[in-house]
Subunit: 466 residues, 3 copies
């Protein structure tokens, strides 16, 4: 069902070279520094529910493709935000999915799903209308067994450490429960303060007030607000956090005089920011976060460029994160300048940049990361987390930023079973790229294995302090 | 003269795979849903004039390249808009063309021309100064024979259906004549209303008035104007139209309150629109056209992004469509939002998007088409209708939009003899892409032939209702 | 140490084809029409100083990469603009460089350096911490010998002609000294008037005044200022100049009424231009320079798109050209229109366009150069002067602009020893591209050698009138 040489170059000698590199690193443990698995899984270690709820309903890569061909999201069991009905029969959802499985031909989802079906569930036939029920029964049966519970899968997947992402005001109860359980799996959190940084986010003022209660600082003042961030970051560090993460519409940063920043914060609390002022405030907070990173060592991740919730009717019916976030052009050069002028030359700071705009790879991101000591390039993200996306990333960034300004792979997923598949794709594509460099005289044969190890394991461990 | 394995991958096993896929679909009939051949050819079925008027004078791909190296357009017989003289001796034009044929090395025009020379005219030697006269005599001789008349070529080219493009106010006399002739060729029209939608087009108000006379609706009112569109669309449908086509500077859409739209229309009729208002009116009309498509089933094609008539002196001397249209950056995400919020979730609507800005493929177009039920991606267009352009299209769109959100190939040409060549290029490049997916384990071997058939025949038939 | 087949395709038959093309042109003389070597080297013919000053301290490609990983520029001997200390011990700098040499893996700098070490200095082992001292001693020893002096290397590198770049107000003393020396090497200057054209450049008014003194024209007036340019261009032509070069933030051009241009010039002299007015003035001067090119035949080169001196602290400590210039999006279509409307259809004018924004290759630059007689595409520049950059250039421009609207290779470097390496990379990548076209039926086998010669030698000689 899976080609053992998938994603390697086709020319036989080059394929051998790539396979040789891959064989050396294929079994390295998974280090997953950024993702969206649910810590509750590992805390409670309950069985996953039915196959549809594991593979279809929560996976926006999958349901967006079916939606694009006219399948209703409600028929796929996507839960509604407006209280309306949605399919709940797992088997019916699964059959609908199977009937449209061909739509995923040529997509990374197809690779991830086939890999999961085969490696996690031992399946050796293709999903389709004819095999839908067999699949459903087989997977459902597996899920009822102890070796398919979250902790067992974590161990079987050879995960060394996995990061989840929690809002700044999260109580981290599941992380506490994991820690208190004595289980030896390493599940760490990451500090995601968008809800207390973005004045345009629903509930902003309430979130800021809650952060005040949680920390004892007066978050009605700028100074207290910053102290509350420091306290929450420290709290997250107690649960293993080594990074913060920021999902902003743009990469804009600011380094305003503190009095101006304080005034902007007051306006944000009153809900009185214009769109431009809200953007400026978010930008100011990236620089503040960078300064805190210099104090506490958290790595700063910037994920900019998604135009969120593009469809009003879908937002009204289903809410956020339903596959209707669309990328757009993203500037980094002017946008990052205030932050970089403030702290960019500090080698003790790490800022990891992601993009949904590939035009920035060679034009902006590689030139920036290839000179500023604090900057590193995050791996291809979201729509680019794919064989072609990864290949273009290496081709467009390596010549200017090299390998050592990159940080290994992020799976960035809530689809737990896809994690080994995603890391495997990255490992294969990287080995194919390295083999090509060797075969074309751009890298010595003895350097490639060392780099394969770095791209898989070394860089991510060091960049994220894991 | 033509490499039988052209455009296939070079690695032998992969080449075999691609050739195998191609052999299965190479002889499928041509479905040409969008193009600019002249319906008069098929109506009157007269011989084409001389070789220069067939291959040089009307082909802006060809004469723009010669122009770029200092050949005067007048010497190539390009007709002047200002009444000045232009070369009319076909043989002199042909010799000039032959002397510069090497300039086309590495371009798709070279591929199309060689293919036409060989397959249409049975030529087995390369065009150049030495062979110019031989070529001219040979082609001229062919053109005088009945088997080189338009209908005979249509049949020989194995065309199943071909669409032309006519302005909204065209009387479609040639289409009527074709229909009345009893000939079994299927030549359909397409509704191109730019002249009655774009307030900045010369003659806009007059065109709108003419549409009123043609339909009996009072096109001095917004409601009458919309009704006149409905009537003209119905008229075009009588002559086989299954689509409308819109060539706008941008992809901007609007969904204004009807009273505002009506006021804007009045301003447009008075010639009083600012540039911004004209753009808004065009944008409003795309949404109105989409709503009419929901009523009458016409597919909506959007061709945005050309900066037309870049050179003032060329425009003054030669007029429009002389190779001086240059692409620029084109936004789709914000631009299409009003239309998509209005009707984007309707699976009974088809909107086909084209681009001249490749940066939008992976960043905007694939993410949009990969989620909105109404959206489909048009094939690589104009400067991208080429082997490298087609390869990049597949590489940059498939992983996010899949294959089923694309619509097969458009030749989009007025160069009749190049139609088989252009479709052949697309078929070869698609088979090469599919073969690569199979050889790298991204597609099963039994799925590729089915997809090759879909990309060549199935998708275009269904997307365009042909 | 160097793979003899580096940068060729991997598939054996295709590799043979590429190697065959390369063998034919590998020994053609180097024509270097644009670069930044120091004419003083050739004038005085003194030995180069130590290895660090040859390879590390002046090479911003090298020190920016080390800087990006936390190495202080001062430790690399980069001279300070603020008078502070910087390392001066060549051996210490070299050891630091050697310890970080692995950072350059996968970059063109690594290719250039290894090529220089091997071909210029006969080295057969890799640079690293273990070989640092051996390398230093070996290169230092070489540099002390006569056959490593600039003129000897010029001859050994098989350079036919090399252009340097001097400011408009330079006295060209070193060029005079070269000419007077009777040495047969051909070192020509190029006219780089940014300092007297850009109102935002430090010293603008003083430079303009100096140009007045140099020429006897009253540069306090617009007419005198233009005449002074004419005189300086004529002076540069005496020292072999065949081109002017313009490094502007954007590609903006203007064609203002002369009275407006004159008023803007006065404002510029007074230092009273807004940012927009300064940009307009630079744009006006591009059109003026193009008009002068029609008089005196100098080729006009436009190098737009770098956001210079991105880091304020680095600018304050080290000054300009320290690796902190970052590209950004660059428009050509609207920007060049005024110039092109004024003189774009003149076949006796040559304007060579460069870009740091690859998105413009296929979207804007190839369509423009593929139709305007005056336009040519410069080779991949700066961050794109690399194997992948060159490959993308050919893939994205050839289908629309062909080969004959390109101008061969520029090394654009002050790193003298890297010149043969850089030209060799271009020759290999071009031969690989041509071989691929032949193997995929897009070019006849007998056309490829002719094109290889053109891309290496013919086009650059003709485009630059060298």
């Amino acid at each position: 069902m899976l080609d053992q040489d998938r994603l390697f170059p086709v020319e036989p000698a080059l394929r051998d070279l790539a396979r040789g590199l891959y064989d050396d690193i294929r079994d390295l443990p998974i280090v997953s520094p950024h993702g969206h698995t649910d810590p509750r899984w590992f805390a409670e270690d309950q069985p996953f529910p039915d196959p549809a709820q594991l593979f279809v309903t929560p996976d926006h890569y999958v349901f967006r493709m079916l939606c694009s061909q006219g399948v209703a999201l409600t028929d796929l069991g996507v839960p509604r935000a407006d209280g309306g009905p949605s399919e709940t029969d797992g088997r019916r959802i699964w059959r609908l999915f199977a009937r449209h499985y061909h739509l995923l031909r040529g997509t990374p989802s197809r690779l991830w799903l086939d890999h999961s079906f085969h490696h996690v569930f031992g399946i050796d036939r293709r999903l389709g209308p004819d095999t839908a029920d067999w699949y459903y029964d087989h997977i459902a049966d597996c899920l009822s067994r102890p070796e398919f519970r979250p902790r067992a899968l974590y161990e079987r997947f050879n995960i060394e450490v996995i990061a989840t992402t929690e809002p700044a005001t999260d109580d981290l109860r599941w992380h506490r429960m994991i820690r208190d359980s004595g289980w030896r799996g390493r599940v760490v959190t990451a500090y995601r303060p968008d809800g207390v940084i973005d004045p345009e986010m629903a509930g902003f003022a309430g979130n800021v007030a809650l952060m005040g209660q949680q920390t004892g600082f007066d978050t009605a003042t700028w100074a207290g607000y910053l102290d509350a961030h420091r306290a929450r970051r420290a709290y997250f560090k107690e649960f293993g956090a080594t990074s913060s993460d920021h999902g902003h519409p743009s990469a804009r940063t600011e380094d305003l005089p503190q009095a101006e920043a304080a005034a902007l914060f007051q306006k944000a609390l009153r809900g009185a920011c214009s769109a431009g002022e809200a953007d400026a405030f978010r930008g100011q907070m990236l620089t503040e976060m960078a300064r805190m990173s210099l104090e506490d060592g958290l790595v700063l991740q910037i994920h900019p460029g998604a135009r969120r919730n593009h469809s009003d009717p879908v937002m009204a019916m289903f809410g956020r994160d339903k596959g209707f976030d669309i990328p757009g052009p993203t500037d980094y050069v002017a946008a990052l300048r205030p932050l970089l002028n403030a702290v960019g030359m500090r080698p003790d700071l790490t800022v990891i940049l992601f993009t949904l705009d590939e035009t920035s790879y060679a034009r902006e991101l590689a030139p920036l990361a290839g000179v500023y000591p604090c900057l590193r390039l995050g791996p291809p993200w979201w729509f680019y987390d794919s064989p072609e996306g990864m290949r273009r990333f290496r081709e467009m960034t390596t010549e200017t930023a090299g390998f050592y300004n990159t940080v290994g792979f992020n799976d960035d997923t809530r689809a737990f079973c896809s994690i080994p598949a995603r890391h495997d794709v990255a490992r294969r594509v990287d080995c194919a790229f390295l083999a090509t460099l060797v075969a074309t005289g751009r890298l010595d044969a003895d350097e490639a294995p060392e780099l394969a190890h770095e791209l898989t394991y070394g860089l991510v461990k060091r960049a994220y302090n894991l």
